[in-house]
């Protein structure tokens, strides 16, 4: 039982990281109906950027965070403007956008590979090795930090989407982009904003994830991509609360699989969940059935 609870505690920390990543998928899909393949690469790029500034350049952590966020925000913005906007503007079929995000993902991953190599690096962390002992459980400080930070960000984000003017614009574009354009919303800047927010969140979760595992290599992006995507689909794609719920379910399934069956199988669990969801409930747990639009 204690083992089970310990696994659950680990899963909650892991789920927070997945949730931060899944939200980015969900927002982009909600607005553009596009699976953003480059999301995983942005996750990895964020972690590398923090590593470069904090370790190789030697800046203090807060500056590294700041520079990384600005840099990744610019990457997200440029990525949308340079590659996806021309496709939208000329009404290209959907697969073009998909292939474009794939291409960007490969480019980002291999740029990092060319400059940084493929070896595993030790990642700096906060509260090195310190943890809270609650009876039989060990909760490391970094896990607590990750969960608190994620909860705070999720609350802030949902408030933003519900209350702020730009958040309302975002929801309007997701519902019907043409009608919202007629209502005077600048659709392209809303889309860019979505990409910036999604990319910065992905970068943040990349850094937090590397801090909790204390290692960094270029493959971390591709494994998180399928897990976060599973979380998004499971919760109902385009639904922020659903993405968070899905992230925790995926993390728990992964944690229990690794704990009770075999750690080789942990990456399989997300895949099995995705298969089951697509078979039995393609709209997700919290999603509504969407009418196909002509």
């Amino acid at each position: 039982m204690t083992y089970f609870l310990q696994l659950t505690i680990n899963a909650i920390a892991l789920g927070s990281i997945y949730a931060l990543t899944a939200v980015g998928y969900s927002m982009v899909y909600g607005i553009l109906e596009l699976v953003n393949f480059a999301h995983g690469s942005v996750f990895m790029l964020g972690a590398f950027s923090y590593y470069i500034f904090a370790v190789l350049v030697g800046l203090p952590w807060y500056l590294s965070f700041l520079i990384t966020f600005i840099l990744i925000g610019i990457v997200g913005f440029a990525y949308d403007r340079l590659t996806l906007l021309p496709l939208r503007r000329t009404n290209q079929p959907k697969f073009t956008g998909l292939i474009c995000t794939l291409g960007v993902s490969i480019v980002l991953q291999n740029l990092v590979f060319v400059f940084m190599g493929s070896n595993t690096r030790q990642f700096p962390t906060f509260f090195e090795g310190r943890y809270l002992s609650l009876g039989p459980f060990n909760i490391s400080f970094i896990q607590i930090l990750i969960v608190c930070l994620s909860v705070a960000i999720m609350v802030a984000l949902s408030l933003f989407v519900k209350k702020a003017k730009l958040g309302v614009a975002m929801r309007a574009v997701a519902q019907n982009s043409m009608a919202s354009e007629w209502m005077g919303i600048n659709v392209n800047s809303v889309v860019s904003l979505t990409f910036i927010i999604g990319s910065v969140l992905a970068a943040l979760s990349g850094i937090l994830s590397c801090m909790s595992f204390r290692s960094l290599d270029i493959t971390i992006g591709s494994t998180i991509a399928i897990k976060a995507f599973t979380a998004t689909v499971l919760g109902g794609i385009g639904n922020l609360g659903g993405a968070v719920l899905g992230a925790f379910i995926v993390a728990m399934a992964e944690s229990y699989t690794a704990g009770f069956i075999s750690s080789d199988m942990r990456d399989l669990s997300a895949f099995v969940i995705l298969m089951l969801v697509l078979l039995f409930r393609p709209n997700g747990l919290l999603g509504k059935a969407v009418q196909k639009k002509v």
Binding site: E33, L34, V35, F37, T83, P86, L87, R89, T90, Q92, P93, K94, F95, T96, G97, L98, I99, C100, L102, G103, V104, S105, I106, V107, L108, Q109, N110, L111, F113, V114, S222, A225, I226, F229, V233, D264, D267, L268, A270, F271, L274, M275, L278, L279, P282, K292, V294
Partner: protein, 338 residues
Amino acid sequence: MKRSIVSKIILLFVILLVAALPFLGVLSQYTQRIAIMCFIYIILATSLNLISGVAGQVSMGHAGFFAIGAYTSAILSVDFQMPALVGLLCGGLLSGLFALAVGWPCLKLSGGYLAIFTLGFAEVIRLICINWRSLTRGNYGLRGISRPSFGGYVLDTNLKYYLYAFVIMLICLFFLHNLGKSWFGRNLAAIKDDEIPAEAMGINVHLSKTIAFAISAFFAGVAGSVYAHFMTYIDPSAFVSDVSTTVLGMVVLGGFGSFYGCIASASVLTALPEMLRGFSEYRMLLYGFVLVIAMLLRTVDVKNSALGIRLQGVYRTVSGSVRNFFTGKASPKKGKGV
């Protein structure tokens, strides 16, 4: 009518030429290896072209089906001493069956579901190849896969295998080409353009996509078998996701739906990295750029841009003067000057 006969003669001539190439002594052992890899990648690219290029459903899992075909064929050969052609069919059928199981849930929905799911699927297949040691020998790989033999005649040299791979490739290309031109191919093209009108015209969109996916996976499995019997040794590192990306890059560069374009780009993209050895680090980077730029070029109206019009003018002048040279007429421009 006349044109189609001419193109058929040219096609036949090219086929005979490629078949005769190694006998002319112009191909070294090394070049023969590259040529066989070209054939394998041509099968992979044209089969992916069916589901991605013709039907517009992006699949990122071709490495997975390639691996299923290769491992099935290899295990049948090493553990059960089955002939290569049995392994070839079994490998193809098994990966087709896997594709049915994977494609049915994913292809119910449009959009990127298939892409990300197949990406995961290929990774799972690779993990299974690594971890199911009793069957696949894990990371050690399967050794001693026999070269195909027909009634005691073993295709032991690269030269003989070249012909074997070439014939298998021609059969695959024959099926894939005619399938693309059939009513089924036209249905897929309609689905690529827009699924809703295709459905309204009475096409069973979900079923058509799933069948196309299974056929595509079947041929990927066949390519896997050809690969396994050629290398005589396979391990999981040959089936990483880079293979899927490479094949998708070939389909995209070939024009995304163009059959012959696919063949050309598969040949070039297989041969080119072999020739530029020091370039290998940047190969995947190049493929990434190919994917992005090929998509962005669709947004530019090349034909009616300033450069396009000028190039067309140059082409017309050059082709006109070439034609005039052969027909013996003086070029109109020159005539005016003199």
